[in-house]
Structure formats: C-alpha cells, structure tokens
Amino acid sequence: MTGSLPPQSLGGAFSPAAVMLNTALSLRDVSCTFVNRDNPSQRYTAVDDVTLDVAPGEFVSVVGPTGCGKSTLLNVGAGLLEPSAGQVHVFGKPLVGINSRAGYMFQTEALMPWRTARANVMAGLEFRGVTDASERAEAWLKRVGLGGFGDRYPHQLSGGMRKRTALAQTLVLDPDIILMDEPFSALDIQTRQLMENELLDIWAGAGEESSDALSAPRSQAVGGRPHTGGEHVRKAVLFITHDLDEAIALSDRVVVLSAGPASHPIGEFVIDLPRPRDVAEVRVTPRFIDLHKAIWDVLREEVLKGYAQQKLAA
C-alpha cells in the first residue's frame, strides 16, 4: 500500500525561488524556539526546519500528534508569530507583519462577544472602511445558513452556529489563503461532518460567487490546481488537525509532522480522492482506507512518541 504512495521528498524537485512564485504560502526552513522569560536557559523548540508550500487553490492539511507545534506553524503563516529562523513568503513576497492575504479560523472562540453575529461578520469590512459591509455580512450569514440569526449575540448561538459565524467572518473578506486551526475540534461528530461538508462546498464555490456578487474580483492571476478545470479562483487552505480522517476527507494533500519538540514534516501524501466529496461517505471508500492506512503507518509512531514524551514530562 505504502509502495503506491511514497512519501514525497519535500520541495526537492523545484528550486526554492521557482516554488515561491507559484505558491500562495511558502514556509522555508522555519524554526521557532520559545524562551522562558523568567529563565532564559529554558528553551523549547516547537518546530524545526520546516519547509511547507501551499499552492493557490490547494487544500493542505497538516496532521501530527498533540503538542507538535502545528498551531505555531499556522501562527507563523498568519504573521502573528515571527519565526526564530527561516522565511515566509506570501504569493512570492516576503511576509512582514500580519498576513493580509490570509483569513484565520481559530480553534477556540474568537468572535467578539459584544458584537452580534452580523456585526462580527462585518468587523473586518468595517476595519477596512467598506461601505456596504452590512449587506455583504448578511449575504454571508445566509450563505452559512444563519440568515435569521444576525441579531443574536455569540452566547445565544450554539457552538456550530458560532463556528459558522466565524467562517463567514473570515470568508467575507475574500482572503486568498485560509488558515484553519482545528476549527471543528470542539464540535460533536455530526455537527462536525456538516461543517466539513459546508466548508468543502464553500471552498469549491467560493471563487464564483465572491467574484460576481460579493466582492470585486481579485487582480491576482492565480492558476490554481485544475480541480474543476474552471477559471474561478479557489482559496488556498492550510488546515491544521490531529484528526487524520478529517484531514484525508478534506484535503488535496496531507503533511505529517513528527512529534515535538523540534517537529518537522516527515511525510507528505497526495489525496487523489475524487471531488466533490461527502466527508461521511468518502470515509468508507477503499481508496480512503488505503490512504488512511498508509498515513497512519507514518503517523502512529509519532503519536506514540509524543505520548511517551508527555508522560515523561508529567
């Protein structure tokens, strides 16, 4: 099984510069070392020498054992965290400060509790001084199935509704890159599958609608991977999860990170399952099971390693 899916060597075939031009988000040799402020001798290297590229329109998942620095990697890509070493490029340009081409969906509650759902979705547009923010927010709320809930405050919404609001909040800005940090991990399995399907639907159709009705088309000419052969621009997604099933069901490519500290990619798998997919149905197809087994073979040892380390530390 693994023979048919050899873990590809990372970035070996292209020269870095050429890759960068064709990537939405590119991390080169990124390392992050945290220093304990009270005791500078205590250092912790979360990720070490990570090189990761996400092509425009590509859905990439990063899986790894808990505590392996997946979120750190995402924060680096978002510009929220400056790496200790290495470069980050966004559409070929070095990243300085916050990554303005990216939207970020957080693992924990990130909605502003003092704003209604609509006001939350509007927030980013408001910050940019967009005039028809309210209409656009309403359109996106409808799109995520919350048409009648715009006036509710986050605490009046269920967990799934809050996640959908957060999704609308991120997507209303029409980012070229979506960074997602285990966005559905707090949801129950049914809601989660619903949300995963919704995400895939929106991702598949995002370009079409956003270019005519919701916002001006992006000037950036992005080729994208020829999933559907269409001209519309899909968003690049970097999806962090510890759930291998979720990763395979959603992605074009799954990257496996080693256990921390100093975690780094140890395997990369192209997911060639046909789209459109239904995340519940795709799980029982033979190809999915093959892929799952192949990736799990690589991941299992790291999970055990990570578990042993945590036990040791405790």
Binding site: A78, T108, R115, P154, Q156, Q169
Partner: protein
C-alpha cells in the same frame, strides 16, 4: 414576595412608632417618655416632614437637584478619568510599573479626609463635592478598566488583528468594549460611591444639598428632620440604583446572564 418585603417595612415602622411615641407604652429605657422620641425621632413626624418638603413647602427639590448634579458629575468625571488612565496604564507596561506604587498608595488612602482640603481648594459649592466623588469613583473604574484590558481574550485579539484592525481600531473595537464590560459590572458600586461623595461633601461644608439639610437639623437637635433626610437619601439611592440596573441591562445584553446556560 413583594408583600412580605412591604410587611417587613411596615413592621419596622410600627415597632419604631410604638417604642418612641410618648404614652403608647410605658418607658423602659428612659426616665421620661419623651426622651425616646428625642433620641430616635417619631415616624409620624418624620413622614409629616417629608410631606412638607415635597408637597407643602416644595423646598427639597433644589437640594435634591444639587445632590443629584454632584453625583452625576462626580460619576461622569471619575468614569472618564478612570477609563483613560486605566487604558493607558494597561496598554503601557512601563508606565504601569512606574505608577503602580502610587496608584496603590492613593487608593488605600482614606479619601474622605480630603473633603476639607477640597473645600478649601474648590470652595463650598458643587466643585468640592464633585472632586471628592471623583476620587472615590476613579479608582473603582480604573481598576476595572485595567482588569478589563488585561483580560481580553488573546484569541479575540489575534482574530481582530487578522481581520485587519489597526492599533486604533483594536483600542476602539476590542480593548474598549472589554474594559467597558468590567466598568458596567461595577456601575452600582461607582454610582453609589459618587452619591456618598456628594452627601459627605455636603455634610462637611456646603450651603445646599440634602447633606446640608441634615447638618442643619443636627445643629438644632431636630432628630425628626435628620431622619427624614436620611429616608429621602435612602429612597433616592434606591432610585439611582434602579436606574443603573436598567442601563446595565440594556448595555450588557450581549453577556450571558446568570441562570441562562451557555451553549457549547
């Protein structure tokens, strides 16, 4: 429930009346049956006094107005001052580190002793009472704002930054609402203290206000008027508190209320 609450009030007044009115019951504590009335006042006369103030002589309104004005001004000034200084210190760790001991010292100082100084500085008018109320309200608001800014969820903050908020927009849309939620939750305390500042200020030296009325009456051992003044102040404080509750309910509707389970 309401009925019981009213019954308690009525019972207190009946007990008061029975113990103080001359001739109702034989004197227990005092040699003369007029002495109880002298020390504790008589409810009927107190109500008569209040009735005169409001409906016969109409002379309480001016005093009440002054007290209310002092309360509102002290509250507004203290809140604005606490808000700005609190935001500034919370967002500037260096300034916070420098001023920390001074803030603590000023806060632990018994501020009522400042009232005579303020009377000297600002005169016997409204300003000295507002100044006293300000010193009381300021620290309540200051500490709440400071806490509110410190307690902003890092995720909400990071999210706002990712949504493209500039530094000023973060201040306005993230730090300020978070701080205000803490300020509103302390609204009852700070309005109450503004009121205390106004009345104590009047009591220590003034020419108008309910505190002044009480002081005058005390000077002539008119215990009924003193009690009447206290009752009016209490009722007034309750009304203020009720108004604050209304405002709070309106402004804090985004917060989950107690008893309402938070959905996951």
């Amino acid at each position: 429930m309401r009925v019981w609450q009213v019954l308690v009030l009525v019972a207190v007044f009946v007990f008061w009346y029975a113990m103080t009115a001359p001739g109702v019951i034989p004197p227990i504590m005092f040699e003369n049956d007029r002495q109880a009335a002298f020390f504790f006042g008589e409810p009927l006369k107190i109500f008569q006094r209040i009735w005169d103030w409001f409906f016969t002589n109409h002379d309480i309104y001016g005093h009440l107005w002054v007290t209310l004005l002092e309360t509102v001004l002290a509250f507004a000034a203290g809140t604005i001052g606490g808000l700005f200084i609190g935001m500034w210190l919370a967002l500037s760790p260096v300034a916070a580190a420098i001023f920390d001991p001074y803030i603590k010292a000023l806060n632990s100082m018994p501020r009522v002793i400042l009232a005579p100084i303020f009377a000297v500085w600002f005169g016997l008018g409204i300003a000295s009472k507002v100044a006293l109320g300000f010193t009381l309200v300021f620290f309540i608001v200051f500490f709440n704002v400071y806490q509110g800014v410190k307690e902003v969820s890092p995720t909400v903050l990071a999210n706002a930054r990712m949504l493209g908020a500039t530094h000023n927009q973060l201040l306005r849309h993230v730090y300020l609402p978070s701080a205000m939620s803490w300020v509103f939750s302390s609204l009852h305390t700070s309005v109450g203290l503004a009121f205390v500042g106004a009345v104590v200020g009047e009591y220590l030296g003034s020419s108008r206000g309910v505190g002044y009325l009480i002081l005058q009456a005390e000077g002539s051992f008119d215990i009924n008027t003193v009690m009447a003044g206290i009752l009016v102040l209490t009722a007034f404080a309750l009304v203020l508190d009720g108004a604050v509750g209304k405002v709070e309910k309106h402004l804090m509707k985004w917060q989950p209320r107690a008893g309402e389970t938070e959905k996951m």
